[in-house]
Amino acid sequence: MISIKELRKEFTVNDKKIVAVDNLTLDIEKGEIFGVIGYSGAGKSTFIRLLNGLEQPTSGEVFVNDKKFSHMKGESLRIARQKVSMIFQHFNLLWSRTVEENIEFPLEIAGVPKKERKQRVHHLIELVGLKGREKSYPSQLSGGQKQRVGIARALANEPDVLLGDEATSALDPETTDAILDLLVDINERLGITIVLITHEMHVIQKICHRVAVMEDGKIVETGKVLDVFQNPQETITKRFVSQLTGVEDTLPTLETIFQHYPNGSLIQLTFVGQTTEEPVLTELIRNFQVTASVVHGNMNQTKDGPYGTLIVHIDGETKQIHDALQYLQSIDVKAEVLNNGSTNNE
């Protein structure tokens, strides 16, 4: 669907060369929701603009739907863009137009006859759940409603690809979830390929099938969301994952726990898929001579199944703890020892 080959984009700012996208190669499948995560300045915005020709690459190629987007110009680029639409962080609606006129805009550009325009707009307004707001101006809408207009507008010319440029970053958590649900709905109903760039792990976890982690213009890690969550390789990926599991927030608490329980071990367990539904802790206590108390727990639902993190304090004889850990490994629960209690007890 989207094929990116050795893509590179340089900017010259104040005589200094900046590489925004650096030798990037990536394939995105038809019908998938692909997330690109990175901190600001990682080159995500430039990357997504290379996909619809808003930026032209310094070198490398971009193919969308077997059309070479890179180095395309003029009329052919304008027509090709109608099938690769974009939604924006700040919605970018025309304040001078009503909801229905905003959605009609891309259809006017594509030269769709007026009667058909009205019909499609009517249908799109229903699809995004804005019935009754047709005649409102953007200034009269909430952020979530504005993004719904943005999505309807992006879908007007029945695109193959929808690009999301931080599409939920300006919304509150509840509205974010509603918009993400709408995107999943569109993806499933219309089979549109969606590429999202974001700095929020929550967005990746909630709707993406695959994820790429971007840093300094490069993709440092890519894979299925669940795999990346379970087994993050790079430091930056680990940071993003811990942002979601809340482990990072718990670290100060852990310090206190270490002091309160000088004995035993603090262990972080990561459950994926099936194992989240099994009574792992019960089994642990029944089969081994250990005590276990939960310090922190978190469970997330990804597109491919649930994903959970649990930090437990396990106390008992060293041998028993060791056996318990072995047992956990055997049932595919990833166990990571955060500390080994006080050394003077060993």
Binding site: S85, N92, P106, E108, I109, A110, S139
Partner: protein, 233 residues
């Protein structure tokens, strides 16, 4: 009896404004309105075009062109910095060539338009620069041509600035017509200067001033109403 009342009223105006020739006054008012209306219309068209050209040829914009941008900007700045009264004098040969005379309302139009259009073009440019870059990018991402972006994005999205700008410009033009009156263009300024000031008839000056103020108030009111109506932000 009715006749009597009218006579009383007439005598009252005659008493307060003994030197005002009302027919002449209305003629002058008509000339002022005529000059203001026509010059505002052409200033609107020309100023808008120059404003758009300055915006589009600016660096990183759709028609980015350093030379055109620099030349247009320079011409605008030159004409904007020439005091209007001097501009009129400078344009006398030009006006003579085109109209065969430098007298009359039509002869004042070139000076009025050339004086006001660059001023208005700058205001249009300010309005265009205030448009959210993201909206232009969104239109590009939908595959819009530059002409579509001009007509359907740039002009509607800057419409409050376009209309409030032309309101300010039209008020300035009322003032300019009074100055143009000095070289014989007619209008209320001409009347106030010639019949009011030079013949020492303060009542003529007063009435002419009141009418000019009324015209300015009316223009401002029309402009404010239109601006408020198009502004949906």
């Amino acid at each position: 009896m009715g006749q009597q009342t009218t006579n009383d009223k007439t005598s009252l105006t005659e008493q307060f404004f003994p030197n005002v020739d009302w027919v002449q006054m209305w003629e002058a008012t008509y000339e002022t309105i005529y000059m203001t209306a026509l010059s505002t219309f052409f200033t609107f068209i020309i100023g808008l075009a120059i404003g758009l050209l300055l915006f589009l040829t600016a660096p990183y914009n759709m028609w980015a062109n350093h030379i055109v941008h620099f030349l247009t900007g320079s011409i605008v700045n030159i004409f904007r910095s020439i005091p209007f009264i001097i501009l009129i004098i400078l344009l006398i040969p030009f006006t003579k060539f085109f109209f065969g005379s430098i007298r009359g309302a039509n002869a004042a139009l070139p000076a009025l338009i050339i004086g006001a259009a660059p001023f208005y073009a700058r205001m249009v440019l300010i309005g265009l620069r205030e448009i959210d870059k993201g909206v232009i990018e969104a239109a590009k991402s939908m595959g819009a041509k530059t002409s579509t972006i001009i007509w359907k994005v740039l002009l509607p999205e800057s419409s409050p600035a376009i209309f409030s700008g032309i309101t300010v410009t039209s008020v300035t033009l009322v003032g300019y017509t009074a100055m143009a009156g000095v070289i014989g263009a007619g209008g209320l300024g001409h009347l106030a200067f010639l019949h009011g000031f030079q013949r020492n008839n303060p009542d003529v000056t007063l009435v002419a001033t009141v009418i000019i103020v009324a015209i300015v108030f009316l223009l401002q009111w029309i402009g404010d109403t239109i601006t408020a109506k198009v502004d949906k932000r």
